[in-house]
């Protein structure tokens, strides 16, 4: 995969133009999108215009920074002025954004070139990207499998080179799940760090906006550009030394129900890091087994509120599975929603405690490899389990807790599907998490 870091260096030295990079991405979209359906809207003309403008500015010595002239994409629930924001639903098929989302504006200010809007699980309410008003998304490693979701098109865009970076959202794992399923990097920032204004919500208290990219460094560049200006860091973090890196392996619930290849791949990566000096201790989240119920009640309550009017006025414009789940969500009682809010606070506290004395937590990003399209259950340790449960199992704790978390590829299954590793950092210390992820990335590559 071509990285932003390499492309930016080539742009800065004049070895390549933004127009050329953008044309390459548009060519890949043209060649592969009919099969993979990763993009809902391609803004080729606007992108080429932006790219030519970037080339003029760079040639004139007015390079803004590492994203200047870099072709990126946006998950199609993020507003881009003058472009439809469908949220993967026919409910919004006629909605054209009249202004940029905050993150879009920040990336525009950084000089990024927007090649289009990526497909997703309708309204981000699912983890497979199978239910979209614009057709299902397919995994580039095996077109009969899901790319994960809900930011499925975003994962595909990076894995295939349709764009060099992309912006997704993550409410229960929707950045990290497709990153793991497609073999790319996905960074879910700490909750509230990056504005979600101008982004179609699923659950405002659990939604996170963040990047997917080909490398940890690329994800950092996008993340940094999306921060408020006062929070940005000019220097790119360097890999932390594995010697002295303290990792908390989240044993128990989060390692209990894994695909055999995923368990083997993640454990081998942890062993490798340990052999090279990392200190690994086992830690637990005592109430991990309550997380799915807590998460469900919060997401259902929030989604039911957002969709209440359109479920009545235009139910036929939703895909049937998403409509039914939203209808089910309307039955959650206030008492149970409040109970789930208390559970959320407890989980946040337990993640803080698990991080006591370590630099990061380590666990799989996704319990299974990319599931076959239409699969209801998958075999895991202990017997078959529902795909929906498995997809969220390793990622949703950190939506409840709000801690920053990053998924990165760590090998393949016996049939060549990507496996995702996840690192979780302290609140307020995302740069340190990225440094640990850079160390893990280097150890995996060596």
């Amino acid at each position: 995969m071509k990285t932003i870091v390499d492309a930016a260096a080539q742009l800065a030295s004049g070895k390549v133009t933004s127009e050329k990079l953008t044309e390459e991405c548009l060519s890949v979209i043209e060649a592969l999108n009919p099969k993979l359906n990763a993009f809902i809207t391609v803004t080729a003309d606007e992108a080429l215009q932006q790219a030519r403008q970037a080339d003029k500015e760079i040639a004139a010595g007015r390079r803004i920074g590492p994203l200047h002239g870099i072709p990126i994409s946006l998950k199609d629930l993020i507003d881009q002025k003058g472009v439809r924001t469908s949220a993967g639903s026919l409910v919004r098929k006629d909605h054209v954004a009249d202004s940029d989302a905050v993150v879009t504006q920040r990336l525009r200010d950084a000089g990024a070139v927007f090649v289009g809007k990526t497909n997703l699980h309708e309204f981000a309410f699912g983890t497979t990207s199978e239910d979209s008003g614009f057709g299902l998304v397919r995994n580039p490693h095996d077109a009969h499998r899901s790319p994960g979701g809900s930011s499925g098109g975003s994962g595909v865009a990076i894995a295939t080179g349709m764009s060099l970076g992309t912006v997704g959202t993550d409410t229960g794992g929707s950045i990290r799940i497709p990153a793991a399923a497609c073999g790319v990097v996905g960074l879910k920032p700490e909750w509230g760090q990056i504005s979600a204004s101008g982004v179609v919500p699923l659950s405002r208290q659990l939604d996170h906006v963040g990047p997917l990219a080909a490398s940890v460094s690329d994800a950092w560049l996008l993340y940094n550009a999306m921060l408020p200006e006062s929070d940005r860091i000019s220097a790119r973090p360097e890999a932390m030394s594995l010697k002295g890196l303290r990792l908390g392996r989240l044993s128990g619930y989060l390692f209990d129900r894994l695909d055999a290849d995923v368990e083997r791949g993640v454990s081998a990566t942890i062993d490798r890091m340990q052999q090279r000096g990392a200190k690994v201790v086992d830690v637990t989240l005592p109430h991990a087994h309550d997380m799915a119920a807590i998460y469900l009640h919060l997401v259902f309550g929030d989604a039911a509120e957002y969709h209440a009017r359109t479920l009545v006025s235009r139910p036929e414009d939703y895909t049937t599975p998403v409509r039914l789940r939203l209808e089910m969500a309307r039955y959650v009682l206030a008492e149970d929603y409040i109970r789930a809010l208390r559970g959320k606070a407890l989980i946040a506290h337990e993640v803080d405690r698990a991080l006591d004395g370590v630099d990061a937590l380590i666990l799989p990003a996704l319990a299974i490899p990319a599931p076959p399209i239409g699969a209801v259950t998958m075999p895991v340790k202990g017997g078959p389990e529902a795909v929906r449960t498995l997809m969220l199992r390793c990622s949703q704790p950190f939506n409840l807790s709000g801690h920053p978390a990053i998924a990165l590829p760590c090998g393949q299954t016996h049939d060549g599907l990507p496996i995702g590793l996840q690192l979780v950092g302290h609140k307020g210390r995302t740069p340190a998490l990225v440094q640990a992820a850079l160390a893990a990335e280097a150890a995996i590559a060596s």
Partner: protein
């Protein structure tokens, strides 16, 4: 509202609204709600006074560490 009563009412409502596909799904939601209500961190009005779980002094008592 007790879960059994809620579930019966929800199923009747789904049926009345012409959404019979919801009925088996509501059973799943009811199971999740049962789990939530049975969690050991729920308060009881006649038991210990609620405390903030982030308070260090509370952690030892709760056995979360």
């Amino acid at each position: 509202m007790m879960i059994a009563d809620w579930l019966a009412a929800a199923k009747a409502d789904a049926e009345a609204r012409g959404l019979p596909e919801l009925i088996p799904m509501l059973d799943g939601l009811a199971q999740a709600t049962e789990r939530l209500r049975a969690a050991d961190w729920n308060d009881d009005a006649d038991k210990e006074t609620p405390r903030d779980p982030s308070e260090p002094v509370d952690d030892a008592a709760r056995g979360t560490r």
